[in-house]
């Protein structure tokens, strides 16, 4: 079941598109589910399909095509580290290594307490701030150093 909050958000998105093009809101709907639950389960895709009046397979196609959807449970805070060229040149390898040391996890993994997950990202379109990661696809943290990463993690630990 989609929560009332998600339905309210989807309804707001639907206003952007012609009335007969409800499918246009599918990307946003998947995003809202992920924001609420941390990941998107097949049952959520089925609910979205019913709500938007589209085949369940078409929702599945979208959820699996776009990289930023989590198709398995991730951490409460999922850090997506860009490893593309500008970031690689500026030390994204060191970023990953430091996160590995601090959190004990590698790409695609989640800490035992479920608090942190790390994913590999493709170009975030913010290359002048390399190296960087995003937190839950919402906040970009750039020009990372080991000290800055420690600060960010300390802040998240408090929450």
């Amino acid at each position: 079941m989609l929560s009332q909050q998600i339905i309210t958000l989807i309804e707001k998105e639907l206003k952007k598109y012609p009335a007969d093009q409800r499918q246009s809101a599918v990307m946003a709907a998947l995003r809202f589910v992920q924001d609420e639950k941390g990941w998107i389960a097949p049952e959520d895709m089925a609910d979205i399909a019913v709500y938007l009046g589209m085949p369940q397979m078409a929702v599945f196609e979208v959820a699996t095509f776009y990289h930023m959807y989590n198709l398995k449970p991730m951490g409460k805070y999922t850090l997506t580290v860009c490893t593309n060229l500008s970031c690689q040149l500026c030390g994204s390898g060191d970023t990953l290594e430091h996160l590995h040391k601090k959190l004990g996890i590698s790409l695609g993994e989640v800490t035992v307490d479920g608090k942190y997950g790390i994913r590999e990202g493709e170009c975030m379109g913010a290359c002048v701030d390399a190296p960087m990661f995003s937190i839950n696809n919402k906040q970009l943290c750039g020009r990372l150093t080991n000290e800055k990463i420690d600060q960010i993690l300390a802040e998240l630990d408090k929450q």
Binding site: K16, Q23, L30, S86, G125, C127, Q139
Partner: protein, 420 residues
Amino acid sequence: MSAQIILATANDGLAKLDNYIKAGGYQALRKVLTEKISPEAIIAEVKASGLRGRGGAGFPTGLKWSFMPRNYDGVKYLVCNSDEGEPGTCKDRDILRYNPHLLIEGMAIAAYTMGVKTGYNYVHGEIFEAYEVMEAACEEARKAGYLGKNILGLDFEFDLHNHMGYGAYVCGEETALLESIEGKKGQPRYKPPFPASFGLYGKPTTINNTETFASIPCIIREGGQKFADLGVPNSGGIKLFSISGHVNNPGNFELPMGTPFKKLLELAGGVRKGHKLKAVIPGGSSMPVLPAEIMMDVNLDYDSLQKAGSYLGSGAVIVMDDTTCMVKALERLSYFYYEESCGQCTPCREGTGWLYRIIHRIEHGEGKPEDLDLLLDLCNNIAGRTVCALGDAAAWPVQGMLKHFRKEFEYHIEHKRCLV
């Protein structure tokens, strides 16, 4: 004209409507609407400006606008491509988050010119903060009568909505982007038909890059010729350059077309201390790499870079110093195209994986002498044989690297380690 036309920073505060208006914002739109300038005259002005698509393809904007059917009664759409995911490129992000009303004004003028009432701005999924600024700016513009019905109290209607991507490089290709707005996988369409006749929801549609739209208000205010004169012949106006990688002060810079690369490098604080420039990718990761000795004499405009063997692309300049292993750099780029191929065309789906696996094995000391010719053979069988340009984008970096740094690849194969 002021020195900075498009580029703003957080300190300018232009994301707030009041400040934008105080700085002369929405005057171009007001001029167009109150003086009832004809669409033909606007297109002529844009053509005179020499403005070419700033997303990377460099197609003349005025010409693109002229393709939209004039005497068509049905719905037409205007789409802004803010899906900025070409590695190295991050200029549109600064327009979205620091100067959103400039984009709205540019799109409103374009909408008036082409008789469009609805627009979409497709924002790269990774820059949520910029999406939120755009959402707030559109809302503010709507309330103040710059979007919606009866704009400026006149008989003109245009509304703009933001659509967020969610991690697919290929959606920067205009027809994949349209599919994505329709709520589908972002797989490019076969052209023709072109979007101007069959675009979003099957309706006539014009798609331009964020920076392209953001250049329009200045062109209308100051005149096309004045804008063109800022640049050089065949590369009119000013352009945003993102410079990243091994420089002291990476950032976005607004410069006249035709500015020497040397000058941009200087603005970016030069190469990291204690190191020498080795190579530069001058226009986003898809463009062929150029060695330092060529780059230091090149000007940043369409013709100069083409003559030098690369392209201006999106104006994203990736700087590599003498510590860079070209095999490792190319391995990462090839992985990117492999990962981002939409899987629709066999040469790209299979070929990008093949390219990546060969470069991966060279990087890991398992390359064979015949691999380099195999790579070039593969490139020739991918480029130009796919529905969209992603296949070409995957081939060009490989061809560029082997043209200028073949020796480094040979060394890697022979000695099973880096030259640097």
